[in-house]
């Protein structure tokens, strides 16, 4: 049940010569330097890299939560400035409003965009069902487990029907079992919703399981970022030999084989 019927594929991102640095304790610290990248409409791009390589910074620039020092990001040919309705972000923490029920939280995104409550809630119910929480619409966040809360966060992002879904280590805080289930859920949602997905993770298996392409940000600034195509049929099987080979290739990239 695809909720979003895009006739024209949108959600094309092009990153041009992007640079970003922070000043920490008086020292200028370059996080991203001269990054160029095209993200194809509807693809799933996973950003991997050692900590400090600027994965999250890149995602926050894409989201419009940070402004670049140099270069820029275009989405469907329009230059990004600030947050926009074409994108939705899923954070590492679910970031649910504790005073709203699951339904209220999921409808929140549409409501703040001016949708009337009844329509926002109707749409929210569909998305809650999509992430498998149909029976929990009236529960409060404190009554949910970590995995359930994160599903609510995902449902909230889906209600606004973004062209681009930005995920910042969304499964990083979950236990191993829940994580695998949620990876399968994400793969399913991505294919059903026909959305461009950009996801940051430090979990290489997760990257191979979900990605069309994996972007590896270099630890030393100025070196080129690497793009690795994951050419595997879906649904992917973690134990398959080619999957394992990709894993070894990625590990080698990090000097960890």
């Amino acid at each position: 049940m695809a909720l979003a019927e895009h006739t024209i594929r949108r959600g094309e991102v092009s990153i041009r010569d992007l640079s970003k640095s922070y000043t920490i304790a008086g020292r200028r610290l370059s996080v991203l330097k001269g990054l160029n990248l095209d993200i194809r409409p509807g693809e799933c791009l996973v950003i991997a890299g050692a900590s400090g390589s600027g994965k999250t910074t890149l995602l926050r620039v894409l989201a419009g939560l940070e402004t670049a020092d140099g270069g820029g990001v275009e989405i469907d040919g329009r230059l990004v400035s600030g947050v926009g309705t074409d994108r939705a972000v899923i954070f590492q923490e679910p970031r649910l409003l504790p005073w709203l029920t699951v339904l209220g939280n999921v409808a929140f995104g549409l409501e703040v965009r001016g949708e009337d409550r009844a329509r926002a809630e109707a749409r929210a119910r569909d998305c809650i069902a999509l992430v498998g929480l149909g029976d929990f619409a009236d529960a409060y966040p404190r009554q949910l487990s970590g995995g359930m809360a994160q599903r609510v966060g995902i449902a909230r992002a889906l209600t606004v029907q973004p062209e681009i879904l930005l995920l910042d280590e969304p499964l990083g805080a979950l236990d191993a079992m829940t994580k695998i289930t949620m990876q399968e859920e994400l793969a399913r949602i991505w294919s059903e919703e026909n959305v461009t997905m950009v996801m940051v993770t430090h979990d290489l298996e997760e990257a191979i399981y979900l990605a069309d392409r994996v972007l590896i940000l270099p630890k030393e600034k100025g070196r080129a970022a690497r793009l690795i195509d994951i050419d595997l049929p879906r649904p992917r099987v973690r134990s398959e030999s080619r999957f394992v080979r990709y894993r070894q290739e990625l590990l080698r990239e990090f000097g960890l084989h």
């Binding site: 989201a63 939560l65 947050v83 926009g84 309705t85 994108r87 939705a88 972000v89 954070f91 923490e93 970031r95 409003l97 504790p98 005073w99 709203l100 929140f108 995104g109 409501e111 703040v112 965009r113 409060y140 966040p141 404190r142 606004v160």
Partner: protein, 281 residues
């Protein structure tokens, strides 16, 4: 959280079944047990007071037995002598409390949002807060006279600060990650305030309200003891001057009762508004 849910009052005779009688008895026993574990010490204290006073272990002229205090209280209320005092006391503390709410909550919400205002006003607020309202009472009397205005003002002054400071900290302590989340969905500043900051600050505002309500009663008594000819606080002093000790204790009990009632009302309101929070007690 779960304890509170378990401790919801038991409905006797609800449902049915073959063991209804024993079940009811068992539940009754549990309810009695809970009641005793909660109020046993209080009842013991009152009983000890009653017995010691009657037996002469303590001076009954200073600590009259409980039944005499209750009788004095009943006479005061039923005879109408204390009703005027209660009315005027409620009016004084109520007016001041409402005024403090109307000033402190909007001001606190504003100050918590705008860092520059908060930074500029914080030192003077801290100074005012640390200056005892009672120490300032003579100043208020000089300015406003010995009538109702100065009494209400001193209560207002003292109740303002706990509420204001708690409102400010409530606003400031709203999780910035939630604010960022709302911004990502395109919420305007006003929407962020209305949908995220305000509800997030409510529990802290209630802490302030409860502190302020307690302070209001405290300052009410003090101001009525200093220059009043009516009011429950005045009755405490007056009864002591006239050596009507049971009446004095009756007035003290009345004040304790007012405190308990106001706290109960606020807690009930808080539970209603903050059902989502497990911190809501």
């Amino acid at each position: 959280m779960s304890l509170q849910q378990i401790e919801r009052p038991v409905v006797f005779g609800a449902g049915g079944g073959p063991n209804l009688g024993t079940e009811t008895a068992r539940r009754g026993g549990q309810a009695a047990g809970r009641f005793l574990s909660r109020y046993g010490v209080l009842l013991g204290f009152l009983a000890f007071w009653q017995v010691s006073s009657r037996a002469g272990w303590i001076n009954p002229a200073v600590f009259p037995p409980i039944d005499m205090i209750v009788a004095a209280l009943w006479k005061g209320i039923a005879g109408g002598a204390l009703l005027d005092d209660i009315a005027i006391s409620l009016q004084r503390s109520g007016t001041a409390f409402v005024a403090a709410v109307l000033v402190a909550i909007p001001l606190g919400l504003f100050m918590g949002q705008v860092r520059a205002v908060e930074t500029a006003l914080d030192p003077i607020l801290q100074l005012f807060r640390q200056t005892s309202a009672l120490a300032l009472y003579p100043v208020f009397i000089l300015l406003l006279g010995l009538g109702e205005t100065s009494k209400i003002f001193v209560i207002f002054w003292a109740t303002l600060f706990p509420l204001l400071l708690n409102t400010i900290s409530g606003v400031k302590e709203v999780d910035p990650k939630l604010i960022e989340m709302a911004r990502v969905y395109g919420a305007s500043r006003l929407t962020v305030f209305r949908r995220v900051v305000l509800p997030g600050a409510v529990p802290s505002i209630f802490v302030g309200l409860r502190l302020s309500a307690t302070t209001a009663l405290l300052l009410l008594i003090a101001s009525e003891m200093i220059g009043a000819n009516k009011g429950v606080g005045f009755q405490v002093m007056n009864a002591q001057y006239n050596f009507q000790i049971p009446l004095m204790f009756a007035a003290i009990m009345l004040l304790a009762g007012l405190g308990l009632i106001s706290n109960y009302l606020l807690v009930t309101l808080q539970r209603r508004l903050c059902r989502w929070s497990d911190a809501a007690i």
